[in-house]
């Protein structure tokens, strides 16, 4: 039975938890799989280390934590340093390439970067960098389907911001598809 452990790390205010919610919702409500989200954050509302752990599986999820993720998504340098040792030996790293420099990358790890903040700024709001990352995740991994991810996205963002978020998602998705050589 397939199971994918995902760790998303960044700073409070970047939308780390929302990214996890969108992925979990896409898998568990719209793709018909099971998903469990665990969140960890410091006492500060903004700027402290923040991370989400998402398990997406065909079978119900028993142990809810992700000790050694299959996929690590990082939006801050600190998150990279903290979580890279936990990534599986043949794991996948997705990173915000202008915020994170993947130093001493373990040899078996595949890594893909995206200038998510720059793309978000081009779209008019830096705030949607997390949605660019969600699209990037969907594009590179295929762990959540495009249709499910877009439905989950639209049901999770504030009214009036749908087209901005959808554009952010699609830019990330297309960037991801092009890096893995998909048509």
């Amino acid at each position: 039975m397939a199971s994918t452990g995902i760790r998303i790390g960044g700073l409070g205010g970047q939308g780390v938890i929302l990214s996890g919610i969108i992925l979990g919702k896409a898998a568990s409500i719209f793709d018909g799989k099971n998903a469990t989200l665990i969140q960890a954050f410091g006492p500060e509302a903004r700027g402290s280390a923040c991370s989400a752990q998402v398990t997406i599986a065909d079978a119900p999820v028993a142990y809810p934590y992700v000790q050694n993720p299959d996929v690590l998504v990082v939006m801050s340098s600190d998150a990279y340093t903290q979580f890279i040792p936990t990534l599986k030996a043949d794991g996948l790293l997705l990173y915000e390439e202008e915020l994170v420099t993947p130093k001493d990358l373990p040899p078996g790890v595949k890594a893909y970067g995206i200038p998510a903040t720059r793309i978000a700024e081009e779209l008019g709001r830096r705030l949607v960098l997390n949605i660019v990352m969600v699209g990037f995740f969907a594009g590179v991994t295929g762990v959540v389907s495009l249709v499910a991810a877009e439905k989950a996205l639209l049901s999770s963002v504030p009214k009036g911001t749908e087209s901005l978020n959808l554009n952010a998602f699609r830019r990330g998705y297309e960037h991801g598809r092009s890096l893995v050589g998909a048509a």
Binding site: G20, I21, I29, L37, A62, Y63, P64, Y65
Partner: protein
Amino acid sequence: MTADPKGVLTGVHFLDGDHAACEGALAAGCRFVSGYPITPSTEVVERFAQRIPMVGGVFIQMEDELAASITMLGAVWGGKKVMTVTSGPGLSLMMEHLGLAYITEAPCVFIDVQRGGPSTGLPTLPAQADMMQVKWGSHGDYEIIALVPDSPQECFDLTIKAFNLAEQWRVPVFLMMDEVVGHMTERVVIPEASAIEITERRWTKKAPGEYRPFDACADGVPAMAKAGDGHRIHVTGLTHDERGWPALTPKSQDKLIRRLTNKIRDNADALADIREDQCEGADVIVVSYGITSRVASSAVLQARAQGLKVGHARLVVAWPFPTTRIAYLATQCRAMVVPELNLGQMVHEVSRAVAGKVPVRLVDHAGGTVHDPKVILDCILGAAR
């Protein structure tokens, strides 16, 4: 009867346990919550405060937990289905009013989202260390019901069950969550209102002149009067007679306290809810509850993969403790393993029920996170030898 559609958010949601418990309360007909927000339970009251104006009801943020729990009891006699929500430090303050709720037979629900203690302990991190406090923390002899969910879906389902049991038995009912279950997000299916069974308050059919507020029906539970219908009631924390008036004698104490405790003790087997998985013919049975049951099930699967016969019994109802069933399971295995996020609480109840028939091994944990499944696995392997 079935649920009032106004409180039922029918659909498929991706919710954490705290939010799901709030939706369970609204679906169950809870229309009054007084609380003093505390991590990791805050999201329950936060959502209730946001939702209740649309549903029709009251949320009051009180000045502290004593005020929250006593205000809740006032609303019971005003006719509402009620709840308060807290975590360990607040629960300690509420112990006084737990006793008052019990002796006045006020149907009410306490949600306790457990965090590491004692005192302020670990505000944002899990434990299961209030399990004995809810049973023994208030003074005097008393019995409560405590339900222990292990997922957001169960937070929804068991909150409804908690309200129904509170009305059926007129006792305080606890939903014993923990920080992980409270903040863990999963799919939660909320059915149509017409598919949710609700226990209505037991209202008296007696005329005002004939009604005695603590005159029990055959099952030991008295009916309540609707405020404003003309019945005269007297409610006191003192030992009282059927009229509710103080009756401070050994005889009335014996009569009242035995009736109150027997409501639960005589029905302990019927109240038991244990989810058993391959317990028949098992060499080792793991007894667990709450979030730890999910960690334990991971260890159980690994042990079975190594060829061991391992059963898993999950307590959905922790109090009253299912003594009869655990005693039976002890005759079916060679050892029991009890993992819990404390340094040994429910394991004492398991040992009492097992009564020396087989060894009982505790896998303890001081809290702050969940067990590493490997530690539980090692204990299972050791017990199987």
